[in-house]
Symmetry: C2
Subunit: 438 residues, 2 copies
């Protein structure tokens, strides 16, 4: 499990200062995305499971304390850290929920030292998963019903990221993953074919295809572009016929003009009496390239996507923040240039007319998106599942307006702010200015 | 340790096919970056330590095999996997070495099943670390001797990535990191101040600064921009004088016009008789913004950098590849459109006139960059260290031409190809075309 030292030093500084001063009043921090990047018309919330797993087990080990002692924390601080656990409350939107700027993905209320300590890990986890689910969702929009396979493992920023991409793409609706460990851990369908090196090691393409068909008679997919792509399609067709794989086999094209080559391949396969053989393409595709192939009606059955998905290449990080919005019963705002915050514990109501951001206690029409997922440090309600998140996203996707779905110039829905929240923000701002000038 | 299932399914497909067929001849794979992105004038090789740690311990656990059985691998495959270990040779450039397109970062020779299986993890690790070291190096160029601190933990793609960024930025020359677990594991200097929430929880800025100075009398850094930045500077100055922190304290500005505010803060501090108080800035800075502040002579002593560094925002992934270049004594090339490869085991010689890419056995002038780091599955030579890599990069950086160092329109050095390699490439291409047409 992730440890308590997976934090920034300043969190430990602040936490120890609070603990030393007996400042243990409840603080509410709100985790949300400040602005949507121009390339995103909506985001898909994810990472809640990782966040809750961290909070449940948050504790300092003796070796953590030994290290903290070596860098200057005194016995008072170490004693307080030794006893520290997360015993607070968390409200969150379910994974797979569509969210927009300023809508809380997660809100946490706990004594301020532990609420502060959790910041770095929670931001890391929610940002990673939400970034990846939001990127994967664009591929799902682009593919318009065709299958997508996660090929990102080799390109992600480490193994945590690979697992997050596999999970987030499953939530978005991908059909399978090449990541074997990810498929095992998450119960997903593993998928894979062969590399060019396989063909090269045989030297002869036909011989390589025959060997592969013999060893994987189930659902072999033949990589046809090692030498000459259409030549490769003919060789694959020969082996498919020889071995009676007409119903199960596929071919994969990984380079070149995918539109033209997929049409050429389809024609060759159809001429050879192989209309059932599926055509799979890959090769650094971003979601706009997938959309272009789909809208040109290229005869492609499935897309494998790696690099562009795995690091969310166009938007590798979202502007997530974790802001103090209430402390010791008092609403809090921040007035720094360009970084204003809204005070108080919040709720978002979603209705046919759009979203309303208000205060948790308000009574408003629509579906309240945030629910309590942790009370006194323990999870409440049933644990979320990948299937549940996928189903939630599928439902929300079908209700999204066309403007938000656009890949090239998306326009997110605008979230309205309730009168009560507006009034509280004014009040808190006046108080903060008074304090700053006092 | 990372497990043997941290791989793409196709690697397992190919490995099992090779094992079943007794195809255990030695294969050499070369791991390199195919093209440099326009935003990079040079790359900094890193990730070797993670790669070797993976190879040393590569083995299937029984639970791995149980899973593979459940997805269709038969007893023959499982038995072969059970016995599989990495017992090959690795040549690599030391971490911290500057590399360009097509120059091998690592070359591995082993029986083809295991050499193939290792692909996904090796690509992941070397890509992640090299991407991050190359990004961090640009900050070092930009900061021109001023201190840099890694603030990326909350923004990286997971915890592996956070550790990689901390390590890679240390290699590039960063002075410290906010990542406490990273500092512990790697023996680096942890650094941190306070967040806006700390000020907000006190409500009164002066009171918060006094509390922090009392709790952290060593080297306190006061965050001054929660309400009004210059007002915050005055408050920090008062506390610094009150507590006699003139020699050790600093201030941090995290928002707004950093050039103007740093000048205003410097003037106020100097007027207050505090010329030693250091000015620290942060707030989503990319390396060009750092360079602009430095070249405008803004009175900034240190930069904290997070998001833009942590995901290598402008270039989140490099075009690394892992290509079969020799199999069973025979040079191998790939002819796919835009993806041509050069055959054979390679060496790079670096001299004053630039780099020469040739074959490992050649005798050429200059420093041979690749050395053998693993023989028969065991590491050879002394283990690389962060300090060693940092020193290596510092030396290489000082020798880089101005064109490669440019942040805005960098031009990498061009690597020449030796006559022997050119000849082998022609020969291998002719043979491959002959095979493809045969």
């Amino acid at each position: 499990m992730p440890g308590a030292l997976l934090t920034d030093l300043y969190e430990l500084n602040m936490a120890s200062s609070y603990l030393r001063r007996g400042m243990g009043a409840p603080a509410t921090f709100s985790l949300y995305v400040r602005n949507l990047p121009a390339e995103r018309g909506f985001l898909v919330a994810a990472g809640l499971d990782a966040a809750l797993a961290f909070l449940e087990t948050l504790a300092f080990e003796e070796e953590d304390l030994t290290y903290l002692s070596s860098i200057g924390f005194d016995e008072t601080a170490l004693d307080a850290f030794r006893r520290l656990r997360f015993d607070g409350d968390v409200w969150a939107v379910p994974e797979g929920t569509v969210v927009y700027a300023n809508e809380p993905i997660l809100e946490l209320t706990a004594p301020i030292p532990v609420a502060q300590l959790a910041e770095s890990y929670l931001l890391n986890a929610v940002t990673l998963h939400t970034t990846m689910a939001s990127k994967a969702a664009r591929y799902v929009v682009a593919a318009d019903g065709r299958d997508l396979v996660d090929f990102a493992l080799r390109r992600t920023h480490g193994i945590d990221a690979a697992m997050a991409v596999t999970r987030a793409s499953a939530i978005a609706g991908f059909a399978a993953t090449s990541n074997v460990e990810g498929a095992r851990r998450m119960g997903l369908r593993p998928a894979g074919t062969m590399a060019h090196s396989y063909i090269e090691s045989f030297g002869d393409e036909l011989e390589a295809f025959r060997a592969f068909a013999e060893d994987f008679p189930g659902r072999p997919t033949f990589l046809v572009d090692t030498y000459d792509t259409l030549g490769g399609v003919r060789a694959a067709g020969d082996v498919i016929v020889e071995r009676g794989l007409q119903e199960s086999a596929g071919i994969r094209i990984d380079s070149g003009d995918l539109d033209g080559l997929s049409r050429g391949a389809r024609a060759l396969l159809d001429e050879a009496g192989l209309p059932q053989v599926r055509i799979f393409v890959s090769g650094g595709l971003d979601e706009r390239e997938v959309a272009a192939l789909v809208s040109a009606r290229a005869p492609i059955d499935a897309f494998g996507v790696g690099t562009q998905l795995g690091v969310s290449f166009d938007v590798p990080c979202l502007e997530t923040v974790y802001k103090l919005v209430r402390y010791d019963g008092r609403p809090v705002v921040k007035l720094s240039t360009g970084k204003r915050t809204l005070p108080g514990e919040k709720q978002v109501w979603r209705g046919p007319g759009g979203d309303l951001l208000g205060l948790r206690g308000e009574d408003q029409p629509g579906e309240a998106l945030l629910t309590q997922v942790m009370a006194g440090g323990k999870r409440v309600g049933p644990a979320g599942t990948i299937e549940g998140a996928r189903e939630r996203f599928r439902r929300e996707l079908s209700a999204l307006p066309v403007d938000a779905l656009s890949l090239d110039a998306p326009r997110p829905r605008v979230t309205r702010v309730s009168d009560a929240l507006t009034a509280l923000a004014e009040q808190a701002k006046a108080e903060a200015l008074h304090r700053a000038s006092g």
